[in-house]
Amino acid sequence: MRWVSIQKEDFVVQKEYEKLCSGNAQDGAIVFFVGRVRDVNEGDDVYTMTLEHYPGMTEKALHQIIDRACAQWQLTRVNVVHRVGTLAPSDQIVFVAVSSPHRHDSFDGAQYIMDYLKTEAPFWKKEHTDQGARWVSSRDSDSEIVKQWQSKE
């Protein structure tokens, strides 16, 4: 089972977590990650952040990442929620959760999905800071992490 949602609304972690647990006695290991808006980036105060995405491509890209993760690890359930629109510091941006019988599959699967989401899913952040508005630059370190996964695949 899997859930993929691109939404403006906030999500409730407990509710998203329960999707992995409900009626699921076979999985002993659930790992989830929550990404949040930070109040400072590159030394400047962040007031708000606007998240843009590519409707139509975003969900497809996420499903492809999840497909590849499920082919590598025993992931019974996957739940990805990503918000778009305008967010403020401490707001939740993303939720990635997986369930598996055992923890190593869950840890690796969740990290894989999150790492590829950062480099392949068409989302873009624009920060509104005390120095003005600017588009967030991609990080070379994110690309390097993906290369490490590619060398294992």
Binding site: Y54, M57, V94, K118, E120, A121, F123, W124
Partner: protein, 83 residues
């Protein structure tokens, strides 16, 4: 005449000042020739289009060259920064 759709996103969309264009298939037949065509039509875009842009055809990221057909949806955008 047959066209394909070109979409721009995020910083690139703001730089070129347009989110979507219809491009005649008679003018551009491959992804690799798209940038040269855009610069020939809009010389002021040259500096925005020479960066590290990602390309997608019909919602699929493409790293090499592909043929573009009528009705395709092509997109150009900066490296992604979600999560």
């Amino acid at each position: 005449m047959n066209y394909f759709t070109l979409k721009f996103f995020a910083k690139l969309r703001e730089e070129v000042g347009v989110s979507e264009l219809d491009i005649p298939c008679s003018e551009v037949t491959t992804l690799s020739s798209l940038t040269d065509y855009l610069v020939s039509k809009h010389p002021q875009w040259a500096s925005f289009l020479d960066g590290q842009l990602l390309k997608a055809v019909n919602h699929q990221m493409v790293s090499g060259d592909v043929t573009i057909k009528a009705g395709d949806e092509v997109a150009l955008f900066p490296p992604v920064t979600g999560g």
